[in-house]
């Protein structure tokens, strides 16, 4: 028992260190000369003038303008509080998909882990608070957002201990979380979005209405997009669906159109709500996804 625990611990530790290294490498590489923090100097930056009304702090009155115009104007500044980001990682069975065809392509969970670690590192480096929530049809583990650099370890530990199982119920989980998440915080949702009959749009709408910035990372393995299998195959579900026996060749085209439709639907509903949607193919490198995301952030800041 002791041995196994020990073994487990060392395994977890090595995984954590790997994860850490990957995350750091990713983020550092991207940040060099590129990154501009979202919050740097934001607390002293001028936003607009407003007519003085009783109750406004007198020290915010711009006396120079008062001297010129004989009217009291109050300077308003952008809020300078640090960001609280919650990363929501899907730990349902479907995330554990391992391709029997291409062993070099990383597993979805592997990819998601690296992404989460990298994002956490990035955010913590900016002194933003990062939390991690693992879920399937309910919340499995919740690590509350902290901005301390040492919090990265907690997140890494949480990531290393994931064993994907169970079915997915994002809508339910988001509904529960929307109450708990602080206003104006950020929510990063990493999942394969294999959800049936669930109103994800409604949940996203709810989050948006609470001023929560939502970013969706849609992680899919190439097998799940192209269905490259051949022969008579019985597909066993990683979640709770019934097994199905068929020749994939017969339905390949149909499946590809279905999955494309599924991705497009998600993308469109995200666009409609102003939610960021990032598609991640596990066969492609994470840099692209991250850089895309950061570029987008930058452009937002510019605006």
């Amino acid at each position: 028992m002791e041995n196994s625990e020990q073994k487990f611990d060392t395994e977890v530790l090595s995984r954590i260190s790997n994860l850490k290294m990957t995350a750091i490498n990713l983020v550092e590489g991207l940040l060099t000369g590129q990154h501009r923090s979202l919050h740097k100097g934001s607390s002293v930056e001028f936003a607009e003038y407003k007519d003085y009304s009783p109750g406004d702090e007198i020290r915010h009155i711009d006396w120079k303008v008062a001297g010129k115009t004989d009217k009291y104007h109050v300077k308003q500044f952008q809020e300078s509080t640090n960001l609280k980001c919650t990363i929501l990682l899907d730990a349902s069975g479907s995330m554990d998909y391992d391709s029997p065809l291409n062993e070099h392509t990383p597993k979805k969970m592997e990819c998601a882990r690296n992404l989460v670690a990298a994002l956490s590192y990035l955010l913590l480096k900016q002194f933003d608070a990062v939390g991690l929530t693992l879920f399937n049809d309910q919340v499995i583990e919740h690590i509350p957002p902290r901005s301390k650099a040492s919090h990265f370890k907690n997140i890494l530990y949480g990531l290393a201990n994931i064993s994907p199982q169970g079915s997915t119920d994002i809508a339910e989980v988001l509904l529960g979380l929307s109450e708990r998440l602080p206003k104006r915080s950020m929510l990063i949702l990493v999942s394969d979005f294999f959800i049936q009959n669930q109103d994800l749009q409604k949940s996203l709408k709810l989050l948006c209405s609470r001023d929560i910035e939502v970013v969706l990372f849609h992680v899919l393995h190439p097998d799940e997009m192209h269905l490259p299998f051949e022969g008579d195959i019985v597909f066993e579900s990683l979640e709770a669906d019934l097994s199905i026996g068929l020749d994939p060749h017969d339905i390949q085209e149909e499946y590809q159109s279905v999955i494309r439709g599924h991705i497009n639907l998600l993308k469109e509903s995200c666009n409609g709500l102003g939610v960021d949607y990032v598609f991640l193919d596990t066969s492609e490198s994470l840099d692209q996804a991250l850089s895309y995301y950061l570029l987008k952030r930058k452009s937002l800041i510019k605006l």
Partner: protein, 700 residues
Amino acid sequence: MSLNFSSPLFLLGLLGLTFPVLIHLLTRRQQKRIRFSAVYLLAQSQKRSIKKSRPNKLFLLLARCLIIALLSMALAKPLFSAKTSESLLPTSPASIVFILDDSYSMGTRSKEKTLFNYALEYLYKGLKQAPDNSEFSIVLASSPARIVQDWTSDKSNFINKLEAQAVSYRTTYIGDAIEKAVKLLESGKQKKKTILLLTDLDKNGWKEETFPKTTVPYPVQVLNFSELQSEKNKEMIENIEISQEFLTQSRLLRVKAKVKNFSKTVNRLPLSLFLEGKLVKEELLDIPPGQTLMQEFSYPLIKNQPLNGKLQISDDALPVDNSRYFPFHPSQNIQVLVVDGDPETISHQSESFYLERALNPFSVSLSHIDPTVSTLAELTLRNLSDFSVVILANVRELPPGYELKLEKFVLNGGALLLGMGDQVDPKYFNEHLANLLPVQLESQQEFKAGALNLMLTNNNHPVMRVFSPKTVEEMREINFYSMYTVQSREEKRFKVGAWFSNQHPAVIESEKGKGVVILFLSSLDRDWNDFPIQPTYLPWIQRWTQYATRGLENISRKDLLVGEPFRKNTTSTKWIVRGPSGTFYSFENDIFTKTFQPGIYSLFSVPPADTEEQKVLTKLPQGSKPVGTFTVNIDVRESEPEKITQKEIESLLQGFKLEFLEPQSQAIQHKESEAIPLATPLLLMVAAIFLIEGWVLRND
């Protein structure tokens, strides 16, 4: 409503269904199992593409199976009839006598089966539908009618009994069968009683005098199977006549056949002559419709042996009457040249007077011996090769050089009989006929009345076998007044056929080349004895003549009809019979009755000890010798295609409740005209499935 198949053998093709199934199973790839995330999306995709995916394979398998099934069904020529099959048999328990016509006309082929097969099929079907507690019995209606199964309620036993039945070669005898059926019905236990007559209504089987009169109006259902005949009996060999011409070195066999054409068109068919199983001659005959044609074959016979032959014409619906067997015994009409050495103007004083009458008392057709009397002067005009026996009766001297001719005649298989008399010159005989005679003639001895008789103690000689002990006794009393004494020659072998009471030989026989020389040491007329006026003289002379030509066991009647008994003409030896199928039978009280199969029957004489020990013979006992053959042929009256009409039956079967039925309405076998053939629609379906399959494959 029923479906029947004309060629049900093709239904075996349904076994071919296993091939597409096997191929499908073998080519099915090994199923792999993969744990997949988006299984519900796969299910959605499958639902959308349901027409194109997996079921296609099943559809193709189904289509291919259908093609094979429909094709084999189409080849089996299915006939569909919308008529419902109803049971003919009473629905309540009854006593039913089935009269099954097993005469050979029921062997008429219709497609691949015979009418008899159809009748049996009908019976099986009928029996299955018959209510329990019914009792059944079978009477076979061929001559003589016989009960093969008495009352029984055991259906399976009854069916077994039916299965053992086959078409016989006999003629129909409906009257006798109905009489037997009526007797059976009288002992039937059930209240309801009925007779079911399954026949082809061949007119031959219905004779007025044979029908019983009944007081109880039993119902008789007559099922006419002749309607099922797809083709008629076209021709038959009606009769064969055999004659022969005797020549010294060869004989000419003449076979005269009457062939009848039943059809309404001129029938051209080959008539083949088989001798001892070998085809020897063939002629093409053109027989006008409804006519009988006579055709004669001549065939030279070298060997002096009995032959069995067969005439055959091409097969038609009834093959039984297309061949006919005939026996040929060379002893028939033995041509005998009687050389009268002492002719007189008063005929009865001639040497040959008694001889000629003994050899041919009434006509040639009875004795089968045809004597020609010749004087010595006429002898040179005669051609010896026209005769098989030469009798020299009291001849003094032959024409110069004629002894050489005689010698050649005997060497080639002729028989020479010599009778003594006052004209005989022993010196001439001993000198000129030394090569032929095994003995030397010494001198004539005279005796008083009653002093010299025939001894006849040992009657084992083949010539003496026909004589009863009483007649032999009579023969012993015949007075001989004169005889020749003889002296044996050196290195000459001979047998003594009969002895005189004074221990001198009476008859000496010896073989010379292929022929025989027989010497009778007294006269053949009344000069030296009283023998010619005795009743035993006639058979004695005839048998010696036949014996000389090796036709002794000539059987009086050698061509029988099926069912006719064969009678043995001797009681002294045991005989057995080998039938055409190789089975051995023994005689019962010198009569052989099992002549139920047409063909050649061989007779064998058996040492007495053997036949008593073995009752069932499987092979010829040791020491048995062939003694002859006889042939059995069918009675051609049954072949006539004429059928009896309903009216005639009604007048014959007065007192019975008659019902006439056609078996095809009973859904046994439908005539093509009444049933709908399904072969073409099935083939069209096959073509359609091929098209669909091709289209599906192309789309795939």
